[in-house]
Symmetry: C2
Subunit: 344 residues, 2 copies
């Protein structure tokens, strides 16, 4: 069986580097028979870890040596100029060259965006890449976009997010008409800042979008919309605040259940339920944020992802490759741009 597509993995990225990225890649290869992986990183390190897993000669695994690594706190613009020999740069380059169809990295988010933009270029009509990720809801999950890639978004940017996110959800989640909500401080028309008011008008003019109007912060986890569109500053803070509260709850549960012997016994009994809940609920656990708007697929994993989480990020890239997301976004954008130039 021949491999039908190849995904480049920045094997050095993230808090744990190849110790996590390599086993996760091997897991993904098992799950996806048409997948080929290009591991980009310091060759000796990669070989050492592959040897430990007895997978030095995996038929669907290739290595690409890189000299350096982009540090987690490195300035994105500097990284683009100075780190042309880094695992992140070379992984993205392999997508630009057509050698790979997607890139997955757990490295520096800002650098990944700036390098992605510099190496892969933006789709026509899109100014800056945006980040989207799934958050848990009562009966599944919904997506937020943007999650911190763009601050000070104009109404036009919010519209671009809505179009891109909507197309991605149609493709990856197979939702025929994803409900798009605009994050605001109230559901009434008069609420909010100038950007969201103007964006709301722009969104409601799009016949291809299933725009449901403003949604408030608490609607995100209630699943009122399939896609919640927001400025990256707001989205990032909303998601991280919620993660913070989830962590606080988890700590308080632990304290509460260890206060005395009776409660410790109770906790033992309840442990499976608690574990199940933690898995379902931690918004940080659903891994694999997509960078949308680039001429290529780039998936960002949490820096602290473990083997399972990083493997989930690879799955996300696989779905986007199979569904040809950037091309579909591009087609939709073209239609929108034609309409808006025709109406001018």
């Amino acid at each position: 069986m021949t491999a039908q597509y190849c995904i480049a993995i920045d094997a050095m990225g993230g808090d744990f580097g190849p110790r996590v990225t390599i086993p996760a890649a091997l897991d993904a290869l098992k799950r996806h028979p048409f997948l080929k992986i290009l591991l980009v990183g310091q060759q000796q390190q990669l070989q050492l870890i592959l040897k430990r897993h007895n997978q030095l000669d995996h038929p669907r695994l290739e290595l690409l040596h890189s000299e350096s690594v982009v540090a987690m706190d490195e300035r994105p613009a500097l990284a683009l100029r100075r780190r042309k020999d880094s695992s992140m740069y070379l992984a993205l380059q392999s997508v630009a060259d057509g050698r790979c169809q997607a890139c997955v990295s757990a490295g520096n988010t800002g650098a990944l965006m700036v390098m992605g933009r510099g190496i892969l270029q933006m789709l026509p009509g899109i100014d800056r890449p945006a980040i989207t990720s799934a958050v848990p809801t009562l009966h599944g999950h919904s997506y937020m976009l943007d999650l911190g890639a763009n601050v000070d978004c104009s109404a036009e940017h919010l519209l671009q997010f809505a179009i891109m996110g909507s197309v991605m959800l149609k493709a990856v989640e197979q939702i025929a008409l994803p409900r798009v909500g605009l994050l605001n401080i109230g559901a009434e028309e008069i609420k909010g800042n100038e950007q969201v008011k103007l964006a709301s008008r722009l969104l409601s003019e799009q016949s291809d979008l299933n725009y449901i109007g403003f949604v408030e912060g608490d609607a995100v986890f209630a699943g009122k919309a399939d896609l919640v569109v927001c400025d990256g500053f707001v989205g990032n803070i909303a998601l991280k605040s919620s993660e913070g509260l989830a962590r606080l709850i988890s700590r308080k549960v632990r304290t509460s259940f260890t206060r005395n012997l009776y409660r410790r016994l109770l906790a033992l009994l309840a442990l499976p339920v608690i574990k199940e809940l933690q898995q379902q609920l931690d918004p940080g656990r659903r891994n694999g944020a997509s960078l949308l708007g680039l001429q290529g697929i780039v998936v960002k994993s949490h820096g602290s992802a473990n083997r399972d989480c990083f493997s989930h990020a690879i799955d996300q890239a696989v779905s986007e490759v199979e569904m040809n997301v950037p091309e579909r976004i591009s087609e939709q954008l073209e239609r929108y741009l034609q309409r808006s130039s025709a109406s001018e």
Copy 2:
């Protein structure tokens, strides 16, 4: 014993009106021997409920009749012009007249702000009132400011919030040097939008402020700062998103613990622990948000507050009266304004 201060209560405000506000007021009178309360509302309704509680002749309770009520969805600016006979308007007016030292309302937030500004006037140097409220942390609580009163805040507004909040925490929470953090999408200097970058420079120039730099969304519930300063749009969405996640967790816990008989039994055993946790954690339960920057004390209760919650909002007003918060804010602002005009 003579009553030393009087608090006006908008008895008609909130989802439940006098059925909640009156018993809550009676509870507060029991707790605070120097407190006198002016109940503002439809006289017959108030008398009926007071009679039910056998408190028609409470020596520290007065009634003030009002004809109308500000609706929860009424436009604030219209309410200010048209509702001069409303319970909210007359309660605020009693503070402006000096008859009362504070006002508590569970009514329409926007109307309370606009009326508060119109009737009580702003402190010199402050443009718009800001809302602050406590959120739970691991070992107590911290405050967020602003929570939705102001959208599109300038750096100067964020500085005003920091000064006002800091003074309030010194007074009400008895913290000598409250740690002030600025909400941002990263802790590094280069992150964020223009407003927060500029605000950070302004804050670090204030020798009276204990400014600790940028904090991220997850730091809010971790208690890294005593006061988290942010634009009202961002603060409102961060708080409501977190509330949404807390509700989702609570629902998932219920589903998880009712899946089979064994789990239902387990839930019965764990019930006291779960209830205790819910009380500690729901960010919506800590009631009593303060409107800062006005020439008078105004406390906003959740619209859906029950007797205990509304009573807690009255306590918040009592603390602010006892600590003379607006005057202390005003003094601090004066010092700041003198310094900044001297340095010009």
